[in-house]
Symmetry: C2
Subunit: 216 residues, 2 copies
Amino acid sequence: MARVSQEHLDARRRQILDGAALCFARNGFHATSMQDVLKEVDLSAGAVYRYFSGKEELIAAIVAEVLGQVHDGFEEEARNSPPPPPDILVASVLGRVLATKESLTVDGRPAFPRLVVQVWTETLRNDELAGLLREGYGAVQATWTRIVEAYQETGMMRPDVSPDRVARTMMAAAMGFLAQQALFGPASAEVLGDGLRALMSVQDHSSVNLLETRSN
Amino acid sequence: MARVSQEHLDARRRQILDGAALCFARNGFHATSMQDVLKEVDLSAGAVYRYFSGKEELIAAIVAEVLGQVHDGFEEEARNSPPPPPDILVASVLGRVLATKESLTVDGRPAFPRLVVQVWTETLRNDELAGLLREGYGAVQATWTRIVEAYQETGMMRPDVSPDRVARTMMAAAMGFLAQQALFGPASAEVLGDGLRALMSVQDHSSVNLLETRSN
DNA sequence: ACAACTAAAACGAACGATCCTTCTTTTTGA
DNA sequence: TCAAAAAGAAGGATCGTTCGTTTTAGTTGT
């Protein structure tokens, strides 16, 4: 194939990215060899090295893509106006994130959550990728903090807790549930939504007596 | 040193485990070479291979230890009777987990959260370690589910949500916050506690009007 | 008390395997 | 027919591990 159309070049690049992502989701970035990737994408070394200068660049491309997809999932769902209550918001964000790359599977289970955890570990040893992660995380946290402020301004949530702490907590719930999917297999985002809804019904210590009175 | 005391043997083994854990927290299991470990613990290859049959066994030993420490942190804190409300419980569990191996640091920051995330990725490619993880997680979830049932039976929490979903959600919050510590640096467990307390004050959609009336 | 002895602990050079990458050659599509 | 794309053998580096040697702590004999 000489002088190939741009669509073909793009398709090849995507083919490489998808195959490599599958390998990396299976075994992690550094336990998968280039030959593993070459076998998965069914191409020669010369072909792959025409699209990526090396393994490091391939990893960086996949990390950047995954971070972008997670970022989009978190941000887009938060643009809804007015913002839904936290349980609905977190569950729908998680559902959207889990919907990305659903076709990519590792022995029948979605590979994306696994890939996200692998990306986390890679940002721990690559400062450039760590910068990307912080950038995206900061933007999302800013968005969510504004939503929490709206909760508090409308009297929906107690106003005596710093909004960014609440935002961090909601993101932690989503991140932790994502990790659970990677480690223990798929589960509906509804599980997390139900759990948060139940937590929202708990009164803190100073109000417990009041609630107990009502429920009797 | 021939015929060395058992304490010396144990100390050597621990020295190797600690040095290796530091390396693995820095760079992950498969991006750190044995020579990196040898340099860190300041021993020769022959010495290390006297205590561990190979890299794999060294990794397995560290993974098992980390999983055990996390497990203990989750379980011991939950034995308190009566169980504190969710925000207090989750925060104190996280505080306890973060207190493990506090002396082990990567450029001044605690290495343990990083190590936990690395352990997660290793369980994705080692079925034996995955079994260990599932075992520990299952036990913790059972304990927490019982606590949630207590919440519901005392009228502290709405009873129409499956208790194990709530348990999963609380554990997700803790896991996600742990991941945040690995990725973005240390933070007090109080942050998560405050966030959960704020979430606990949110009324769901059908009750919003009621709360707004009260707050005016 | 001290020197010789011994078995274990530690050393570290070196081996084979595997890794990532390069480069020449072959194939292919325009 | 030609330039681009893909192939795949091979190079150089690094990996995990082994194994013959050296060092050392504890024991024995006098």
